[in-house]
């Protein structure tokens, strides 16, 4: 059988598939469920300093090839999240703590707390497309990206991943800034800003108006971003966006990813998501005579 193990910035993973932030991640028990269902690691819901209810419902709407969500970063706040972490850590596999804030200082404080709760790595949400003064509004600026990354790096000893938004003129420039700030890996991509309008009522469906587009429809965007980042930086890349089959995963690996994050697929596959992806990727590797998932990383760049 093909070797599915990968190493991301020192994090040894049994397979390349990680549960993406915001899906199944508000509670520790559900994160543990994903790990027991075969996820090599999980990313927590993005957590901030204070409790936050998120945006009014509707917060989710289906569109062809995916979903638009405007959850609005609901979370119980970093203090309360400690209890969730205890449960998430029970299966004994890596948990990655996603955090969001408005300033470098907030990020550093959250990072220290997450490290204390026992996460194996941090993921900085500089990419949520629909929150004012947070997420993508910070991650669209190279200087801010570098400053926040450096502040978190100085605050903790665990690896720091930076999650990027595709909604920028040059994702390579943002990736370079994160790497210059000391990022140990980059995650691409978060959702794309999007909207759905109800044709009978003539108003946006989502309570917040706009949201983030995820699922199969954004996969080609994610693949292009990973491809560009692979050329621009040396740090390992984690691909995300519409991974639904083992072949999707292979495409991201060839573009330059070392591991994958998976979110929207969980809607359809639930507990089957991760084992099925691993099985499909192994079958793909075997069918093409590839010995390992690792060996695929960046293959699309040969002769570039």
């Amino acid at each position: 059988m093909a070797d599915l193990t990968v190493d991301v910035a020192g994090l040894r993973l049994e397979n390349p598939f990680i549960l993406a932030s915001g899906v199944w991640g508000e509670t520790g028990a559900t994160l543990a469920r994903a790990l027991r269902a075969g996820a090599a690691a999980v990313v927590t819901k993005s957590v901030g300093l204070r409790p936050r209810p998120g945006y009014p419902n509707p917060t989710i709407v289906e569109v062809p090839s995916g979903l638009i969500n405007s959850m609005g970063l609901p979370n119980p706040g970093i203090e309360e999240y400690g209890a969730e972490m205890e449960e998430a850590l029970r299966p004994g596999r890596p948990v990655i703590g996603s955090i969001f804030g408005a300033t470098a200082g907030e990020f550093a404080a959250l990072a220290r707390r997450m490290e204390r709760w026992g996460v194996s790595a941090l993921e900085l949400n500089l990419s949520c497309p629909h929150a004012k003064g947070l997420g993508a509004q910070l991650g669209q600026d190279p200087g801010t990206t570098k400053r926040i990354t450096a502040a978190v790096k100085a605050a903790v000893d665990i690896p720091v991943f930076v999650k990027l938004t595709p909604t920028v003129a040059s994702i390579a420039a943002i990736g370079r800034a994160a790497a210059a700030g000391g990022a140990d890996a980059l995650v691409a991509i978060n959702t794309l800003k999007a909207m759905a309008i109800d044709l009978d009522l003539c108003i946006p469906v989502l309570g917040h108006g706009t949201g983030g587009y995820s699922g199969p429809g954004i996969k080609p965007v994610g693949v292009a971003c990973v491809y560009e980042l692979f050329k621009a930086v040396r740090v390992p890349l984690i691909g995300a966006g519409g991974v639904s089959t083992g072949e999707d995963a292979a495409e991201y690996l060839m573009a330059g990813a070392t591991a994958l994050e998976v979110g929207t697929l969980v809607l359809r596959k639930r507990d089957r998501t991760f084992r099925q992806l691993s099985r499909e990727l192994a079958r793909f590797l075997a069918s093409r005579g590839h010995r390992s998932a690792r060996s695929l990383t960046g293959r699309a760049h040969r002769g570039d």
Partner: protein, 264 residues
């Protein structure tokens, strides 16, 4: 035509609105989608919110019984025939009904999700027993509707203003002593359902409970309704009591919109 997207509200026009009690009104609309007793829909009140509501009518005309509590439910209660709302669903696991005699125990607006079940069960023999409990006479819901099904109906009020004075669980206790039941179905406050589940243990009848938790996506991904790693929105709202008994939050904690645990 574009594919109908499952998880997108379809706009329906309210065809009927009725005040059932001072606090509860029913809204109805024509809707051909298939639904089972115990399932719920996400109801979009444009410009206000989208909230989960059990279906109290599951045929070609669908209905919800709305208890006006806060912003969204009060806005729903103000709507009239001709107004439009958005509907996603029906969602979730409903009641599975097995052959044999069934005991149905409803507390407060819990009867809303149980009424279609009773109507289905009462068409066959043996007749089900139904306990309809409320705090006081004016809050009793669907009593006549339940009587019309031919089921054995026991009404209880905490203050004795109608039916028997006492709790729904008192009546359930007596019925369980008097008859043999092959299953028990219940919806209401969790403290009540906890008692129902333990009472039914002596008959080793399987118990199905309908749970409520804060719901946002309704499709099992956002995790806001999670209890012990289970999603009430898709693995519930109706669950076997043995599964529920293993959830430490049952009868004790719920979560708010932030995901914070609060004591019930």
């Amino acid at each position: 035509m574009a594919r109908r997207l499952t998880h997108r509200p379809r706009i329906v026009t309210i065809t009927g609105k009725r005040a059932e009690t001072p606090l509860v009104s029913t809204l109805r609309w024509r809707d051909a989608t298939k639904a089972r007793p115990g399932q719920y829909v996400m109801v979009w009140v444009p410009g206000v919110d989208e909230v989960p509501m059990s279906l109290c009518d599951i045929g070609g005309v669908k209905g919800i019984a709305v208890h006006a509590k806060g912003e969204a439910t009060s806005a729903l209660a103000r709507l009239r025939a001709g107004d439009r709302i958005g509907i996603r669903g029906p969602y979730g696991h409903g009641f599975r009904h097995k052959p044999g005699k069934c005991l149905v125990v409803a507390g407060g607006t819990g009867i809303a999700c149980l009424a279609p079940l009773v109507e289905k069960l009462a068409r066959r023999w043996p007749r089900p027993s139904v306990v309809v409990g409320a705090r006081t006479r004016s809050e009793l819901l669907f009593v006549e509707r339940m009587r019309r099904t031919g089921a054995e109906v026991v009404v209880t009020t905490d203050d004795g203003t109608a039916g028997r004075k006492g709790l729904a669980t008192d009546a359930a206790y007596e019925l369980l002593n008097r008859n043999r039941y092959s299953q028990v179905c219940s919806c209401g406050p969790e403290a009540m359902m906890r008692v129902v589940a333990s009472l039914a243990q002596c008959q080793s009848a399987p118990v199905q409970l309908s749970l409520e938790r804060y719901m946002k996506c309704g499709i099992g991904i956002c995790d806001s309704c999670a209890m012990g790693g289970l999603h009430i929105c898709v693995e519930g709202p109706v669950m076997d009591s043995r599964r529920v008994a293993g959830l430490p939050d049952f009868g004790a904690f719920r979560r708010d919109a932030c995901g914070r645990k609060e004591r019930m």
